[in-house]
């Protein structure tokens, strides 16, 4: 019964999406409110049907209904409830179904918030969204069916992949990633609508920026959570390996970050319209490329789903979407005319342009490094891999240059500036840069890139805090307001600006933490017998012994390590090596001791409980915790930008002042 109902819901969602796309494109030509109302109804219908199909699958997973093929594939009676729910996206068919869920919610929300606005664009946008939705419903109806009927169901199933069960971050990282990946469909639809309509007006930039920012926030969090998971689980001591699928998640983030910046310039100056739209299109295409990478079996990675037949189908969609974008851009980009020319010279405008070029250069660097092994193998039938050295050598200078711009850009005034203005804007923050570089030097930084990161980081931090503080100080000085009231008014009137600087502050901290953690750590690999100890940094580590712990799904050999510092015992850490029944190789579980300034990270290389012998990889990783903290700052800042500013009519003059800024912020 459940499989039949599930298949019916999916077929109906395919019908709703296809019909909706057709109606929407037809409506776009007529441009009537009634036609838009109809295409919106189809969007809601699609969302309702695909959400219902997801709920049905969750129900089947919880009820352990093994007559549903997907449940038979990933379900198990022995897993806890949270794992049963998480199983929804743990394997191929379910992950596509979940994609539909996220897309349904996005499409419904984007259609609803614009129900009475932007009539000239919205039907086009809905047409594009529902075309994408139709493709994913088609996948679910054909090559990746989750609701096949199992005629004689088994009593129990195998459960999801063991790696997905061993850390709670695994339950959180995929939904955030989908929130990012799938969400880029919405700005893609809006940008396509601007091209199809042949204009991109000021008013329409607001929904474009809002709906670009939402998936950007999810993507930012997802990328860092992925690194966090790798750090806590995989045991090699780092958080980023330039794995093809990590790269796949970074690529759309880079272009989307560039697009957020160029959209700001478009909004302020009416320039770069075609460029902004191109970046949005590219972000979407890169998400589909990433989806292809994880599901085609072409790339090897911890993220790869098992080999499947849907690779070619996704590739056809990628090709179709790419042809659509290139043709549309070529045909219509000339209609999105700039309203005025850019001001040349040293100005904030110019820095925005350089920022965009750097982000695009970064994207190409990562894309080339990811795809290059495929090129070599296809042309010369020889295997090769592009490793860390390439990516680090390329990414570090670009990252440092971006950090430099994060300081210099906001320090410069908009438009033309005199040499004296430029000097007085650029020189003072350098003092803070030098100060932070000296702090780094005192802390032992010798790598020139790290020192440069300290310098530019200090510079950018100065500029960022100054930009946050100056308007507050001005209100306090000129109007005699209290500090709290001044802060409140500043964030009400320029919420997006304040939010952007909070994000910048987080980004500065993150970049310093990345530089420090990757160049200033210490590590040792040692072989120990029971009772032996060794020194690492200011820690003394002693191997107390190893014991085998048998659990139903695995056999863990746990090593007990006593950590002490200056003669005082701090903690007993217990890194382990686990053997899962269905795995070829044992999987380690590292132990991490986090403190404000550094992590002590212990990972078992080999352990023998009988002989009480241990091979241990021990690392001191400075400032790693700051990366996770900085992510929360960036996320909080960008979510703050989305919070609408409420008018307070009782306040008279102040409220009247707040209206224009408030209107701008509520739409962004």
């Amino acid at each position: 019964m459940t499989p039949v109902l599930g298949r019916t819901l999916i077929l109906l969602s395919l019908l709703a999406a296809t019909a909706g796309a057709t109606v929407s494109f037809a409506a776009a030509r007529g441009r009537g409110q009634a036609a838009w109302d109809w295409s919106r109804r189809f969007a809601y219908a699609y969302a309702g049907l695909i959400v219902a199909a997801n709920l049905l699958m969750v129900y089947a997973l919880l009820a352990r209904d093994f007559s549903v093929s997907y449940v038979a594939h990933v379900g198990s009676r022995s897993v806890p409830t949270w794992v049963a729910i998480v199983s929804l996206w743990s394997s191929l068919e379910g992950s596509i179904l979940f994609w539909g869920f996220v897309l349904g919610v996005y499409v419904a929300l984007a259609a609803w918030t614009n129900r009475a606005r932007h009539l000239e664009y919205m039907p086009y946008a809905a047409g594009v969204w529902l075309s994408c939705a139709a493709f994913f419903s088609f996948l679910l109806a054909g090559p990746a069916q989750p609701f096949l009927t199992i005629a004689s169901p088994a009593d129990d199933g195998p459960g999801p992949n063991a790696l997905l069960q061993n850390h709670v971050l695994m339950a959180v990282h995929p939904p955030f990633l989908y929130g990012g990946y799938v969400g880029f469909t919405i700005p893609f639809g809006l940008a396509s609508a601007a091209l199809l309509a042949g204009r991109l007006g000021q008013d329409f930039l607001r929904p474009l920026r809002t709906w670009l920012l939402v998936p950007w926030i999810f993507q930012t969090i997802a990328i860092v959570l992925g690194g966090w998971w790798a750090y806590e689980v995989l045991g090699w001591g780092g958080y980023w390996a330039w794995d093809p699928v990590e790269n796949a998640s970074l690529l759309p983030w880079l272009t989307a970050t560039a697009a957020l910046h160029s959209a700001l310039l478009t909004e302020r100056k009416g320039v770069l319209k075609g460029w902004t739209v191109t970046l949005v299109q590219a972000s979407f295409l890169l998400t589909i490329l990433g989806t292809f990478m994880t599901r085609s079996g072409v790339f090897n990675s911890v993220h790869s789903f098992t080999q499947s037949a849907i690779g070619p189908t996704i590739l056809v969609f990628l090709a179709a979407a790419t042809v659509f974008c290139v043709a549309l851009l070529a045909a219509r980009i000339d209609r999105l005319e700039a309203e005025r020319a850019l001001s040349p010279g040293a100005s904030r405008d110019t820095m925005f342009l350089v920022n965009n070029l750097l982000f695009v250069l970064f994207t190409f660097t990562v894309l080339v490094g990811t795809v290059f092994p495929l090129v070599v193998e296809a042309l010369r039938d020889k295997q090769m891999s592009v490793g860390r050295p390439y990516f680090d050598r390329m990414a570090v200078p670009i990252g440092v240059a971006l950090l430099f711009l994060m300081g210099v850009g906001p320090a410069l005034p908009w438009g033309r500036a005199t040499a004296a203005q430029v000097r007085s804007a650029l020189l003072p923050p350098a003092a803070n840069g030098v100060l932070l570089a000296l702090v780094g030097l005192a802390a032992g930084a010798r790598n020139p890139w790290t020192l440069l990161t300290f310098f530019f980081g200090g510079y950018a931090a100065h500029v960022t805090l100054r930009e946050l503080w100056l308007p507050v100080a001005r209100r306090v000085r000129e109007r005699g307001e209290g500090l709290a009231r001044a802060v409140g008014e500043v964030q009400r009137q320029g919420r997006r600006r304040v939010a952007a600087y909070v994000v910048h502050a987080g980004a500065v901290v993150m970049m310093i933490a990345i530089a420090v953690s990757s160049t200033m750590g210490a590590s040792r690999e040692v072989q120990l017998a029971r009772g032996e100890s060794f020194e690492l940094g200011h820690y003394t580590l002693r191997f107390l012994g190893a014991e085998v712990v048998r659990e139903p799904h695995r056999e863990a050999t746990v090593a007990r390590i006593e950590v002490s510092r200056a003669g005082r015992v701090l903690e007993i850490m217990e890194p382990a090596m686990n053997q899962y029944g269905n795995q070829r190789e044992p999987i380690g579980t590292p132990a991490v001791r986090s403190a404000a300034l550094e992590d002590l990270y212990l990972s078992v290389m080999n352990v023998d409980a009988e002989a009480q012998a241990l091979g241990l990889h021990a690392l001191v990783n400075p400032l790693v915790g700051w990366i996770w903290a900085a992510m929360f700052v960036m996320a909080a800042g960008s979510v703050f930008a989305l919070v609408p500013v409420r008018r307070r009519p009782a306040e008279g003059a102040a409220a009247a002042e707040a209206v224009p800024a408030g209107a701008a912020a509520s739409g962004s």
């Binding site: 292809f292 085609s296 079996g297 072409v298 790339f299 090897n300 990675s301 790869s304 080999q307 690779g311 070619p312 590739l315 990628l318 090709a319 790419t322 042809v323 974008c325 290139v326 043709a327 851009l329 070529a330 045909a331 980009i333 000339d334 795809v371 495929l374 090129v375 193998e377 296809a378 295997q383 053997q579 029944g581 269905n582 795995q583 070829r584 190789e585 009988e610």
Partner: protein
């Protein structure tokens, strides 16, 4: 129509899509061994249950199948019957050798008692042979020609078909080398 945008877009997108199409269906798990076509690294291995050590020289003159395995490895358990059946049918024409990786001899003996074995097994003390052959995990199987060159390598559990194909190729390498 903006020809610059069109030309740039096509120049960017067509090669990328082409390379993805060409690579569809490739197996990303496959890692070519640099040892293929080269002389097999020498080894000296103690037989399970004691006796004369086995060296590579003793395998010369016949094609050999070296299977690295362990009792703690579930896929090895899966492929065990396939190897036994093949060793029995091919008899003395092909020499099958089991090399036990990271394991206790006691476990191996009780495993072989319960599962049976049609060919000799050897302990790889300190994993020296595994390191010399570049074993990335068990099970992993190497196919050695009669003149002592590595013809092929297979990672993961063998099925009857993949095993038969590779044994046939290893035997063909004999006629080529003569």
């Amino acid at each position: 129509m903006n020809r610059k945008v069109l030309g740039f877009g096509v120049a960017l997108v067509v090669p990328l899509l082409a390379i993805l199409v060409v690579n569809l269906g490739r197996d990303p798990q496959r890692i070519d061994s640099p040892l293929i076509g080269r002389p097999a690294p020498p080894f000296s291995l103690a037989p399970v249950g004691g006796g004369e050590p086995l060296t590579l020289d003793k395998l010369r003159g016949r094609p050999a199948v070296l299977n690295f395995w362990a009792t703690w490895c579930a896929p090895c358990y899966e492929e065990h019957p396939v190897l036994q059946a093949s060793a029995r049918t091919l008899g003395p024409d092909v020499q099958f050798v089991g090399i036990v990786y990271e394991d206790q001899e006691e476990n191996v003996r009780s495993y072989l008692r319960s599962q049976g074995s049609a060919y000799p097994n050897f302990m790889d003390a300190g994993g020296r042979a595994a390191i010399a052959y570049g074993v990335s995990g068990v099970p992993e199987t190497y196919f050695i020609s009669p003149d002592g060159a590595i013809v092929d390598k297979f990672s993961g559990p063998l099925d009857a078909r993949s095993l038969a194909d590779r044994v046939a190729r290893t035997r063909a390498a004999r006629s080529a080398s003569r």
